[in-house]
Amino acid sequence: MATAVHPVAAHPAARPSAGGRLASDTWTSMLRVLLNYRHSPGLLAASLGVPVVMVVVFGYVFGSAMRVPGGGDYREFLMPGLFAMVATNGIMPTMVGAARDVGRGVTDRLRSMPVSRTGLLLGQTLADLLVSVVVLALLALVGLAAGWRARHGLADALGAFALLLLFRFVMTWAGTLLGLAVGREEAAGQLSVVVFPLAMVTNAYVPTGGMPGWLRVVADWNPISSVVEAARELFGNPAAPGSAWPMQHAVTATLLWSAVLLAVCGPLAVRKFATHGR
């Protein structure tokens, strides 16, 4: 084994094309995230458990005192809100993960290697997307058990889930950017406290109609509200959209918000990753 550490022992394969490298590094990076999930079943259990708890707490505890304007079942009103919460929470794992990698020096090591920067980050967001499919599916099952139905047929329901996954994907890029920017795991943990009110000032749990004027404007224009409203429309669940533009054109607003956020966060995250510490 005298040659094991010698410079000729393990030569990298011939120079790959940029596209081949992107694909290969994306896949490797996905693999890394999925391996992490495999070794921490608790992580997955938490992701799966939270929606169940949310249905019980919001649907049955709060729901017992909630009235939806114009009638309709509160739990049916709530479910699209919970789906959107799962989508929004996509910001968390990538934010904490990116901050941890920076703090531990993993980012430095990766950056000192001849890898595709975009591929590394893309792999992490795609892996998260895979996990989210499972979480959303489970939440849907719990919802069905609680009386929620998708009332506009399969195509619209799939459209709603596609929008939810798109938004989750956008949020994972926002999380990556924030995590790279804060660079410390504890700091990322603290930032997550900020995400909570952001997610509360929406139409997810209560109609915005009862909020004070200024808060209502914030809630109506909150991207998360667009996602919730779009999901309510596509699922055919009770809604109380009000007259604000994003509420009247929820699907379009969701697509626009997603496009803008992704166009900003994606390239910024890749740039931040590539030039970190410069």
């Binding site: 550490v5 010698h6 391996l35 020096g105 001849p114 510490g277």
Partner: protein, 337 residues
């Protein structure tokens, strides 16, 4: 590949400023291919920044940097293909196994899935981590992490290796293991640049030492020459304070230096003139001849602190630096009966 006649690592006039901190102010560095260079300096000297510049993680504000024959700024990608980096802290994914860490790094280095697996197995076996390889890294001890981190930089057998304080915080055995690995790598032709706060480490491993302070090289040369440039410290502790003055005379004449008397500790200390070595037996003989009863006689080889004292006129213990360097060196203390 790189031209072997050229140095593997070259830095000339490299400057790097972070806000108001000048981390590097004109650092010059040349490491011939196949040699080990020790970057020695106290906390905040700029060692890590130098490594980060060399590893293409930080672009210098000014100056030229070439690694393995490529410009580290313009041809960063080529440099990355030629280097391995083990940073100051173990850069590993704690949530997966050691084996998977190596396997994933191998894939990123484009060894291919199968070769990456084989390589991970090879390295784990070779460095005594075969069994621990299937445990999550978060269950590893500090020494195991450091070792795995070093191994992770060897996945491609890079011709140029950067190790930032590879043994800080390790017990003597783990330190020795890392030293052996570095020696083996160097014997195999790898160019190694390592940073350290321990003169002893540089002494054992490095062909050349570059002493860095405030972002610039203040001394360069083989370790033996650096140490020869400063003397050893000899100290004698007495039972009877009345004999302090006589002892000071003996020490001064033997060492050619000025002996200092510490009354409270009943100790006389002298820094020997460079080139003059004080041998313990002759010292004890002289003291006996003068009827001096010594409680303790110690000869301490120069430590990083001493090098700094000699080179800069101030101690290395600034910016909250620890005295680990000195503690480690005192292992060389000799005791007379």
């Amino acid at each position: 590949m790189s031209d072997t006649a050229r140095p593997a690592i070259e830095m000339a006039g490299v400057q790097k400023r972070f806000g108001s901190t000048e981390a590097l102010r004109g650092l010059d560095l040349t490491v011939p291919a196949g040699t080990v260079c020790g970057l020695l300096g106290p906390n905040g000297a700029g060692k890590t920044t130098a490594v980060r510049v060399l590893a293409t993680l930080v672009a210098p504000d000014r100056g030229t940097v070439r690694v393995a024959g490529h410009d580290a700024v313009r041809d960063a990608e080529e440099v990355r293909r030629a280097i391995g980096l083990a940073g100051q802290h173990a850069a590993l994914d704690e949530g997966i196994t050691g084996r998977d860490n190596l396997h994933l790094f191998g894939r990123l280095h484009r060894l291919g899935a199968r070769r990456a697996r084989e390589r991970a197995d090879e390295l784990l076996t070779r460095f005594g981590l075969a069994e621990a390889g299937d445990r999550l890294v978060r269950t590893y001890s500090g020494g195991m992490r450091r070792r795995l981190d070093l191994i992770a930089s060897l996945v491609t057998s890079p011709p140029v290796l950067f190790l930032d304080e590879p043994t800080t915080g390790l017990d003597p055995r783990s330190r020795q293991e890392i030293w052996n690995t570095v020696k083996e790598l160097a014997d195999g032709g790898t160019t190694v640049l390592l940073t350290t706060q321990y003169l002893e480490e540089a002494d054992r491993l490095a062909d050349d030492v570059v002493v860095v302070d405030h972002g610039a090289a203040i001394a360069t040369g083989p370790p033996a020459r650096l140490k020869a440039a400063i003397g050893s410290q000899v100290s004698v502790t007495l039972a009877d304070p009345a004999q302090l003055a006589a002892t000071a005379v003996v020490l001064s004449s033997l060492s050619g230096g000025d002996a200092r008397i510490d009354l409270a500790e009943r100790t006389v200390t002298v820094l020997t003139t460079p080139g003059v070595s004080v041998l313990l037996p002759s010292l004890v003989r002289e003291l006996d001849g003068g009827g001096i009863v010594a409680e303790d006689v110690a000869v301490r080889r120069p430590s990083l602190d001493d090098v700094f004292l000699a080179l800069t006129g101030e101690g290395a213990t600034r910016e909250g630096a620890t005295r680990e360097g000195a503690t480690q060196e005192s292992a060389a203390t000799g005791r007379a009966a």
